[in-house]
């Protein structure tokens, strides 16, 4: 069996869906952030696969940049979570209701 472009796209779609579903059903903020990272990683697969398919390096460059952005996003998300945890002793998003109407 030859691994073709569509296999990569299917894999990426599966990873993206996993992340999306996880984001929707989990209530732990850290797990939600991890699911978002999964979504970002799935796009990396798509970019790398298409980059190879089209024969230009643009997609690969995008993947590198995406790594850095994902790390920065995770870092800021975690920093905010640490700060919240210090005051509330919880990271469950259902407990954050100060700003509801």
């Amino acid at each position: 069996m030859e691994i073709t472009l569509s296999h990569y796209l299917l894999l990426a779609g599966a990873v993206f869906t996993t992340g999306m579903v996880g984001f929707v059903i989990r209530r732990n903020a850290i797990v939600m952030l991890m699911c978002v990272e999964l979504m970002l990683s799935s796009t990396n697969i798509v970019f790398a696969a298409f980059s190879r398919f089209h024969g230009n390096a643009d997609g690969h460059v995008f993947v590198l940049m995406n790594f850095a952005v994902a790390a920065a996003e995770a870092a800021i998300g975690l920093a905010i979570l640490v700060e919240i945890f210090r005051r509330r002793r919880t990271v469950n998003v259902d407990d954050f209701k100060t700003l509801m109407e």
């Binding site: 796209l9 990426a12 993206f16 992340g19 999306m20 984001f23 903020a29 939600m32 952030l33 978002v36 979504m39 970002l40 799935s42 796009t43 798509v46 970019f47 696969a49 298409f50 398919f53 089209h54 230009n56 390096a57 643009d58 997609g59 460059v61 995008f62 940049m65 995406n66 952005v69 920065a72 996003e73 800021i76 998300g77 905010i80 979570l81 700060e83 919240i84 005051r87 509330r88 998003v93 954050f96 100060t98 700003l99 109407e101």
Partner: protein, 508 residues
């Protein structure tokens, strides 16, 4: 080794990119100043930030006066053209006003704050990132600039790190921001897959050359729109907006309500106009817009956004939250200019954005000034405040009347252009709906005016006049005077907006 066939970056590119480079340098210098002062000398960062913003503004004005053609720089990633110049000025105005006004804002400079200086250089960094958003002409730069603005705003929303409300706002912002940018990124990757190009005009060429499947293009566009709608807070990606505005410090909410929104619109204009719309060759691209039924899609989003924002704003008792919902409804009006992707509509968006920046920033700043004294943003606490601070009250009336869109204020001119752009192409139902919405807006905006001037304060309440800092009065006057003047003398700004869009269509 053979280099790829692209526009190789060089030092000379920086000649067209001075404002952004200066702002990046300002950010680093102000950060260093903060470190040297060990976090206890916010004045160092304040002075550096103000100086940097003014210098960058001077260079931007010089670039406008010079005029000239569009320049593609940084290896095809960035384009500096008329529209970029327009948004540069807008963002520097917003950034400078926010920095100056916040110097006396209790929420930023209160004694308990340990990170006062950070606000100033984060604002500078955000201004630079927003300018890049307006200049991106490549998917990579689009994503990076959006993330740069996003990351800075997450930090700024959580600026009051000891406050439950502020950190909660920040968390909501970062989690949903991350997921929406993930969704957008997936759309971008599919678009790259369809066309094999990263630059906007390359994508356009790819879409026109290949056999594009309407459904897959529609899905891709919707995925990308999700990320952008989040940035501009259009329904259904608006839910963060009221919470973040309420939880974040008011000066931060002020710049959020104008800066990233305007930058999001700038990005949308360049992206969708270049990839989908007519551009220089009207006949070629109509199929693309028709293929995904773009006008209907946009019209529905615009209609839902403005109606939702207005109806929910009706029952808000917190002025900050009310302004948040009102900003959602203004996004709805602005999106009307997108329905047809015509030059007239886009120029109307630019005009409206400039006016909106002035009046919305002003309204938020009045809330900041009042918050310094009464420590509240509840409508009930505004009772009779107009008599304690008459000038502040008068300016609030100007800003709110302009937000409503009553003549002869600038907001009216803005709405007028957007409405005519839609009616020119027979989208009457949308224009009528928008007009009805404006009437709804009248009710809740004037409820604030009524509270300030027509309601008696409770028995025994403080009635001493409020002392407002001269710097705050100056900034407010700088925002209020154009809001008044542009109401009847809007020709020059309109010409500027038309030119910006005209250059966009020819300078590709």
């Amino acid at each position: 080794m053979e280099l790829l066939n692209l526009n190789i970056p060089s030092w000379s590119d920086l000649a067209y990119w001075r404002p952004e480079a200066i702002l990046c340098g300002t950010f680093l210098a102000a950060l260093l100043g903060d470190l040297i002062g060990r976090g206890r000398r916010p004045a160092i960062s304040f002075v550096i930030s103000v100086f940097g913003l003014i210098t960058a503004g001077a260079y931007s004005v010089a670039a406008v006066l010079h005029g000239g053609a569009a320049h593609t720089i940084m290896g095809d990633l960035i384009i500096v053209d008329g529209m970029a110049a327009f948004f540069r000025l807008l963002f520097i105005l917003a950034g400078l006003a926010t920095v100056l006004f916040s110097w006396t804002a209790e929420e930023i400079m209160g004694r308990k704050r340990e990170n006062k200086a950070e606000f100033f250089y984060l604002t500078v960094l955000m201004t630079a990132a927003m300018m890049v958003m307006a200049e991106a002409r490549d998917l990579l730069m689009l994503f990076l600039s959006m993330e740069a603005v996003g990351l800075v705003s997450y930090v700024m929303a959580g600026y009051m790190r000891t406050s439950l409300r502020s950190t909660e706002a920040s968390l909501k912002y970062v989690i949903f921001g991350a997921v929406s940018s993930g969704i957008m990124l997936y759309g971008l990757s599919l678009l790259y897959g369809m066309t094999g190009a990263m630059t906007f005009d390359g994508i356009r060429a790819g879409l026109l050359a290949g056999e594009v499947n309407g459904l897959s293009l529609l899905i891709t566009v919707i995925l990308i729109l999700a990320g952008m709608s989040y940035k501009i807070a259009a329904v259904p990606f608006h839910f963060w907006c009221p919470d973040v505005y309420e939880g974040a410090p008011t000066p931060v909410a002020a710049i959020f309500s104008v800066g990233p929104k305007a930058a999001g619109f700038a990005l949308m204009i360049r992206f969708f106009y270049t990839t989908l719309a007519a551009g220089a060759d009207p006949s070629a691209s109509a199929p693309l817009i028709e293929l995904i039924n773009w006008p209907l899609l946009m019209a529905v989003i615009a209609a839902v956004t403005m109606t939702y924002g207005n109806l929910v704003a009706l029952r808000q008792l917190n002025v900050k939250r009310m302004l948040a919902y009102s900003s959602i409804s203004h996004v709805g009006y602005l999106l009307m200019g997108f329905v047809l992707l015509t030059d007239a509509g886009l120029a109307a968006i630019l005009f409206y954005l400039a006016v909106y920046t002035l009046m919305n920033l002003g309204a938020f700043f009045v809330v900041v000034a009042l918050n310094n004294h009464i420590k509240s943003e509840e409508l009930d606490d505004y009772a009779g405040i107009g008599f304690r601070a008459p000038w502040l009250g008068t300016m609030m009336v100007i800003f709110l009347a302009s937000l409503t869109g009553v003549p002869p204020f600038a907001g009216f001119a803005g709405k007028f252009y957007v409405f005519t752009a839609v009616m020119d192409r027979q989208w009457f139902w949308l224009a009528i709906l928008a007009a009805l919405n404006s009437v709804v807006g009248l009710y809740y905006y004037f409820r604030v005016v009524k509270a300030m001037f027509l309601t008696r304060p409770a028995e025994g309440a403080d009635t001493t006049p409020l002392k407002i800092h001269w710097l705050q009065y100056t900034v407010l006057a700088v925002l209020a005077v154009p809001t008044l003047v542009l109401g009847f003398w809007f020709g020059p700004l309109k010409v500027l907006a038309d030119q910006a869009i005209g250059l966009l269509s020819t300078g590709m």
